[in-house]
Subunit: 270 residues, 2 copies
C-alpha cells in the first residue's frame, strides 16, 4: 500500500490522527521536502512520530518514484507531504503510476494554504484561480500570472499567490558539470513578490491594479507565530513579515463588509 | 480562550493531533452541526474524544454566540466544525465578535472540500470561484450561480459546486407559529444538482455549457467509501452516487493531459 499523507501547516501536531496511525505502522516513511516546509524540521518530526524519515527530494519523487511504488506493492510505504498531498501535480502523477503498477493507494487529506488562507478573513468562495509567482533571474522574468490576477480582480475575486520555493535546486553552472551542486534553499517573501509585482504593474498601466492596490501578506499560516499584514502593494515592497513560508493575496477591489472589518485588524498592526 | 477546530472530512480520526489535544483539555466542547456533516455521528465523536459534546445549531451559533464567547472569556471553550473552521462566513463573524469582547481565539485548520476536491485529479490551481447550489422550491428557483460557472468555464477553469444542506430548518408553516417545527435533514445529491443545472442550461442555450458537458460527482470525500464518478450532466441526472455528502464539479472545457488521464478512471466505473 502506498499512502500519501498531508501534514497540514504549522508543526508536528498538525498531522491528523489517521495520518499518525498510518505512519506508525508503515515499513518505510518518506518526507517530501521540496514543494513546501513546516515550521519544524525533519528531526522534530522523527522524534514526534517515533520513526526515521527518508528525505525525498525532487529527483527521488520524479525520477525514482517507480522504485518506491515497487516497494509499496508488498510493503506499507508512506510519503508525507506538507499541506494537502494533492496540492501539487507531482502527487497526482504518482497515484496514476501506482494504479498502472497495480499498487493500492490511500490519501490522507489535511489543511493546505489553499483553504487556510481564509484566516485573513477573505472568504474562500470569493477567490478566483490561484497563481504561482516565480523568482525572476537576470534573464528570465515571466509575468503571465499577472494576467490571471487581473482576470480575478476584474471579476471582483481575490487571488492567492503562492510564492516560489527553491530547495535543492542545482546551480546553473553545475547543470553542465558531472557533479551536481545545489543552491542554498530560498523562500520568496511577500516583500520580494511585491517588488516583482510593482515592476509588472508599471509596465501595464491600464490593468486596473496599481501600486496603491491592497495586498495581504501571510506568513507561517497555521503556526502560533502566524502573521498577517494588509497594506498597499507599494508599502509591501519594504515590509518584513519575518521567517518563511509567506503567501500573498491580492484582494478583490470591492470587499464584503465582514471582509473589510476582519482585514482592518491586520492594517492597524503596520 | 475560544478555539475553532476543524474536524476535516471523513471520520473521527480525521481531526489533527493538535485539535484533539485541545478538545481533551477544554471545559466545554460544542459541535457545529448545520453547515456540514462527517460520516460518523455525534455519539461516535463523543466516544472517540472521551468528551460530551453540545450540539450547536444555527440558532445557537448565530443568536447565542455572545453567551458562548462570554463563557470563553475565563474558560476553555471549543467549537468543532466539519472541514476547515473558516469555510463559512459565520465563523469569521464569531472571531470578530470575540475580538470585540476581548476573548482570545485560536484556529486549528483542517482539510475541507475546498482543497480535498483535488482527489478527482483536477488541479486546484485550475479552479475558479466556488459556487453553492441551493435547493429549489416551487416558487423560488435562483440560478445566479450559473453565471459564475459559465464565467469559470469560459476562462477554462473548473467550478466546485457545494450542494445545499438542510439541517434543522424550520418548516415554512411553522415560521408564523409560536412552536418551531423542523424539516427532516436533507442533503442535495449530485443527481438533484444535475437536474436543476440541466433546467438552467435549457433556458440558457448559448452559455457554452450543455447537457453533454462533463460533470464530476464526488461523495463522502476523505472517507474510505469515497466515490467519484465522471459523466455528462445529462447522465448525472439519473445517477445514484450513494449516501451524502455530495459535491459536484463542472470541469473546464480543455483539460491538462494528466487531468484527463486521472479522470478517465472514474469514467469507466459508470
Amino acid at each position: 500500500m502506498f499512502y500519501l499523507i498531508g501534514l497540514g501547516l504549522g508543526d508536528a501536531t498538525d498531522i491528523t490522527v489517521k495520518g499518525l496511525e498510518i505512519i506508525r505502522k508503515c515499513d518505510k516513511v518518506l518526507l517530501e521536502g521540496y514543494t513546501s516546509i513546516l515550521t519544524v524540521g525533519k528531526d522534530v518530526l522523527e522524534e514526534y512520530y517515533g520513526r526515521p524519515l527518508v528525505l525525498a527530494d525532487r529527483e527521488l519523487c520524479e525520477g525514482g518514484i517507480d522504485d518506491i511504488l515497487q516497494e509499496a506493492s508488498d510493503k506499507e510505504v508512506a510519503l508525507l507531504v506538507v499541506g494537502d498531498p494533492l496540492g501539487a501535480t507531482t502527487h497526482t502523477d504518482m497515484l496514476l503510476r501506482a494504479k498502472q503498477m497495480g499498487v493500492k493507494t490511500q490519501i490522507v487529506h489535511n489543511a493546505s494554504i489553499m483553504n487556510a488562507v481564509s484566516c485573513c478573513g477573505l472568504q474562500l468562495y470569493n477567490f478566483g484561480e490561484t497563481v504561482s509567482i516565480p523568482y525572476w533571474t537576470e534573464t528570465w522574468k515571466p509575468d503571465s500570472f499577472f494576467e490571471k490576477i487581473v482576470g480575478n480582480y476584474s471579476r471582483n475575486l481575490h487571488t492567492l499567490c503562492l510564492l516560489d520555493i527553491k530547495v535543492k535546486e542545482p546551480t546553473e553552472e553545475s547543470l553542465t558539470k558531472k557533479i551536481r551542486q545545489y543552491m542554498d534553499p530560498k523562500f520568496m517573501s511577500v516583500q520580494e513578490a511585491a517588488v516583482q509585482l510593482v515592476q509588472i504593474i508599471e509596465s501595464n498601466p491600464n490593468s486596473g491594479i496599481c501600486k496603491s492596490s491592497k495586498a495581504v501578506g501571510l506568513s507561517r499560516v497555521g503556526a502560533l507565530d502566524q502573521r498577517i499584514a494588509a497594506m498597499s502593494l507599494d508599502a509591501m515592497q519594504t515590509f518584513d513579515l519575518g521567517p518563511p513560508l509567506h503567501s500573498l493575496v491580492i484582494p478583490a477591489p470591492n470587499l464584503h463588509p465582514l471582509e473589510l472589518d476582519y482585514l482592518a485588524q491586520f492594517e492597524s498592526a503596520n
